[in-house]
């Protein structure tokens, strides 16, 4: 089992090596030397740099990503047949997460381990899993192949989930997110019949609340089951009423907030015991410049340690800037701490906080907290005035007025966050900084809060700075995007400019790392090596140079020596990079659509499904995966989630908000790795391409490739990751980076022969 928090899973007082060695020592009774050897092997297998040193270090000396790799190694050392991963990457940054996901997938294949992957992130599931079981309130509500569940879902809850997350292509003005109404029932308050009934728009009295709903098979889909009685009657493409609000896009007004060359340095004493001495400077923000206009949403994107929170603190006056300018509606505020700001300025820039459980003071009632804010902002003259205004604010955030008397602990996360929003807008703020306001909420609630924020912003013409690491949300709601890395703005521009090439190399990696829950999306896979450097000890030159894959395309090693200039790409699109225009131009989009999303999905077989629904079934039983036909590849994905039969932990997890689980396929290491992964063969053409032009392919390899039916550049260029891996295995030739490179070279060669190759790579092919 692999848990969310890698740090907590490792014993802080024991060295990594010892902890790993324990496993073979117990399970196989081997000698210490043998155990050490096996542990070392496994550390290498999870692709950790310098395994010998890793084995001798303590857990706290490793970064989060490395710790998670160690935990995975520990789990694999006992050669399990089934691996349970409970949100293994939620605590990690997106680019690190991509690396772990890649690793887990690879290891699953290599060792033939089945995996159960518990996650709330639909995109991640699409990337890792073969089959998925959607759980709601202690029950599995839908289970099936990922493609079936994602594209042809047959349960209203699953559909609700998909409608409440922003997918690429969704636009805030045309198709807003649709939240699932209501709240998850507490385990002891579950309704009779369908648990999802009270929140379901297709709910039919007398049918859905009549009795226990069994898992019903769906005709025509392979092993696809749904716990819904009406799935064959529902029109799965119809949107609920009012979902298609065609809102007018807002024209951004005059500049409201201008930030010019903002710098924020912290001085940290290197030796805290004796004080003084040499101090280290942490450059939290470096040369930040951007502008936000009235009723515009500017997203600030970046991973942990990139300085986005520091930026927010400076804006709000919790910190003062070291250098540079912050101008809020023509008033410079960069060096005025919040205590010295006048009420108008304080009320003019407010914040919505990340953690809903922390945002309200648990000791004061909701109403009194809002009234206090109003008092502080000089809104209203008397207490009665303020109470009235407070009730209006509750209306604004769509909460019942009775909530004024409640204590925060009586509210759910989403409701608390609404109060947080009400508080931020209490003094008619001109600028609202939203620091990941929804990331800690359940998926179905996220949509509601996001929509609320945007509605109020639209109404009040507020400028919103939306801080996030989630690019899919950003794409959905932002007008302009600022990408930050280690205190620098590496790229900024309108949303369209950021999400289309040319990219900054970091943005490119970030985009590719975001899991997207849409089967029609094709992504380029770029996995960054290593972790984010510490802000205490940033790399020289370009902040991103340690992980950049384009570094070798900048001549003279400039990346390591100098911070690149902010390159103007036109129309307010800036990128902090040394790369030439040529290279930038040759970038391909990271996210592309395979085919236009199918609008109509017929497959409605009424009569047959009716018969199926009458088939009696044991209460709450998930129909076991039909064994027999494909015993080798089928995995035991049956997640028993019948209330009572499952472990408390599990029930808890679902009560926490509809989790999804899926398993990857069981695959013995020796089995043929799926025919689909094998590169397409062809007959030998009359004029086969000279594969030797690809650096890395010699005459010997050319012959072997020819044996496999590979003759042209076009074939190699079409290789996807699966094929590359297959070739990797087949040629018994290690290191997949090179094969990556082959494909790139082959693409160039296929497109324009030697000339194109020279243009892209700047050198002649061999």
């Amino acid at each position: 089992m692999i848990y969310q928090e890698p740090m907590a899973s490792l014993n802080p007082a024991m060295k990594i090596g010892q902890q790993l060695m324990e496993v073979p020592l117990i399970h196989d009774n081997v000698s210490k030397g043998e155990a050490w050897r096996r542990a070392l092997e496994m550390v290498e297998a999870v692709r950790l740099p310098d395994p010998e040193r890793m084995m001798r270090s303590y857990p706290h000396q490793l970064s989060g990503g490395q710790q998670q790799r160690i935990v995975i190694a520990m789990a694999l050392l006992s050669k399990p047949a089934l691996l349970l991963l409970d949100e293994p990457t939620t605590a990690l940054d997106v680019t690190v997460e991509a690396g772990i996901v890649e690793l887990v997938k690879g290891l699953g294949k290599k060792y033939g381990t089945s995996m159960i992957f518990v996650s709330h992130n639909l995109g991640l599931i699409l990337e890792t899993c073969d089959r998925v079981t959607v759980m709601y309130s202690g029950e599995a509500v839908e289970t099936g192949r990922v493609e079936d569940v994602f594209d042809r879902m047959r349960h209203p809850y699953t559909q609700g989930l998909f409608r409440s997350i922003p997918l690429p292509g969704a636009d805030k003005n045309e198709r807003p997110l649709i939240a699932i109404p209501g709240q998850l029932p507490l385990p002891h308050e579950r309704p009779k019949g369908c648990n999802f009934g009270p929140r379901c728009q297709h709910f039919k009295e007398g049918l859905c609340d009549a009795g226990e709903v069994p898992m019903l098979p769906i005709e025509g889909h392979e092993r696809h089951h749904s716990r819904c009685l009406r799935f064959d009657e529902i029109d799965w493409n119809a949107l609920p009423e009012g979902a298609l609000a065609d809102k007018q896009p807002i024209e951004p007004g005059k500049p409201m907030l201008r930030i010019e060359n903002l710098k924020k340095y912290y001085h940290v004493a290197a030796n805290s015991i004796f004080g003084g001495g040499d101090t280290k400077t942490v450059k939290a923000n470096e040369q930040i410049s951007f502008e936000a206009r009235e009723s515009e949403t500017v997203a600030i994107v970046g991973e942990s340690g990139c300085g986005k929170s520091t930026l927010a603190k400076v804006l709000l006056g919790l910190e003062t800037a070291t250098d540079g300018e912050v101008v809020l509606a023509n008033e410079p505020i960069q060096s005025t701490a919040v205590e010295d700001r006048d009420t108008g300025t304080v009320a003019g820039i407010q914040m919505v906080f990340q953690n809903p459980f922390d945002t309200l003071n648990p000791s004061h009632s909701v109403g009194s907290q809002i009234v206090r804010t109003l008092e502080k902002f000089n809104v209203g003259k008397t207490l009665a005035d303020r109470r009235q205004r407070m009730l209006e604010l509750l209306d604004l955030v769509k909460l019942p007025r009775a909530f004024a008397e409640r204590m925060p602990r009586q509210l759910s996360g989403g409701q608390k966050q609404r109060i947080g929003v009400a508080r931020a807008f209490a003094g008619n703020a001109k600028v609202v900084v939203a620091d990941e306001p929804v990331s800690a909420l359940d998926v179905s609630v996220q949509a509601a809060v996001t929509e609320l924020l945007m509605d109020i912003q639209r109404k009040n013409k507020t400028t919103m700075l939306f801080i996030s690491h989630d690019l899919s949300v950003v794409r959905y709601l932002a007008d302009r995007v600022v990408v930050m890395y280690l205190g620098h703005i590496v790229e900024q521009g309108t949303t369209d400019q950021i999400f289309a090439p040319p990219y900054h190399p970091y943005t490119e990696a970030l985009l590719s790392a975001i899991p997207i829950a849409d089967t029609s999306v094709r992504k380029k896979h770029i996995v960054l090596e290593g972790d984010i450097p510490s802000a205490m000890n940033p790399p020289s030159g370009c902040p991103f140079q340690t992980r950049c894959r384009y570094k070798d395309q900048v001549p003279g090693g400039k990346c390591e020596r100098e911070v690149p200039p902010l390159k103007d790409l036109g129309d307010g699109h800036f990128s902090l990079c040394w790369l030439d225009d040529d290279v930038l131009k040759s970038m391909e989009p990271v996210i592309s659509f395979d085919a236009p999303r199918k609008t109509g999905k017929p497959a409605r077989r009424q009569g047959k499904a009716k018969a199926a629904s009458q088939k009696p079934k044991a209460k709450g039983e998930i129909r076991p995966i039909a064994g027999g036909r494909k015993p080798v590849r089928a995995s035991a994905a049956g997640l028993s989630a019948v209330p009572g039969s499952s472990s408390p932990k599990r029930v808890q997890a679902e009560a926490g908000g509809g989790r999804q689980a899926a398993s990857t396929r069981v695959k013995p290491a020796t089995a043929k790795i799926g025919k689909d992964a094998k590169p397409a063969r062809m007959r030998k053409p009359k004029q086969p391409d000279d594969l030797k032009l690809i650096s890395g392919v010699g005459p010997k390899l050319e012959a072997r490739l020819n044996d496999l039916g590979v003759y042209t550049f076009a074939q190699i260029a079409a290789w996807k990751k699966a094929e590359r891996d297959w070739v990797d295995d087949h040629l018994s030739f290690k290191g997949h980076i090179e094969r990556d490179d082959w494909v790139k070279q082959a693409k160039a060669l296929a497109r324009g022969g030697v000339e194109e190759y020279m243009r892209v790579f700047g050198k002649k092919p061999r």
């Binding site: 014993n11 802080p12 706290h60």
Partner: protein
Amino acid sequence: MASPRFSYCDEPAEPYYGGILQGDFGCSTKFKVPVAEKLFPALGATGILMFWVMVVMVPVALLIGVLAGMREGTRTDRTLSVASIATTATPEYVSGVIFAVIFASWLGWLNGSAATATRQGISFYNFTLPVMTMAIYGIGYIARMTRASMVEVMTQQYIRTARLKGLGFRAVVIKHALRNALIAPFTVIMLQFPWLLTGVVIVEVMFRYQGFGFTLVEAASNNDIDLLLGCSLVSVFVVLSTQLISDVGYAYLNPRIRVQ
């Protein structure tokens, strides 16, 4: 030429406290000897007492704490917890009286006075009561700390990880939990010293053991300024050095601190 202040010791007429820096503590008016001559043997006697107290107190307390914290909420845990709360509610002058009544007055097994220990050397008969009295108060406190720390450690995920590796419960407790659980009580034990010093004073007075605490009380009640000053200096010195030891030991036990 002024005559010496006291006939029994060689000292300038004017009180000169700077001598302390050179190891000269002045003279005791009560015992009519130089302070150093009285103070250091007394310290030695107290050292012996403390040694035995530690030998009894620490293992017993840790054992109780670990046993109680190992499986939270069981009958053993609740019994041991209430027992340790009861001992923390029993200061030395209370438990001293109770033990003296039971073991010395009623049963007659042990000697209610440790005065003989100074002259004739310590024995089970004359030394058990003081040691037991002092240990009992500390046991409750340390055991509770150990239990809390143990309970916390046992709910950590790495304990779950260790269980999932297939380690037995005993092995998990001994190899994974103990070391992490002992970090917090260690500091507590060391920080107990200022309090133990109070205990020493009470116990030594109660059982008439001629140690440091006994000397201190004698000095204070007879206005023996030099001796009192010497005692204060020594005790502050002892306390500060144990705090230093506790910091160093903490760093040794906790690898996370060591690196920084």
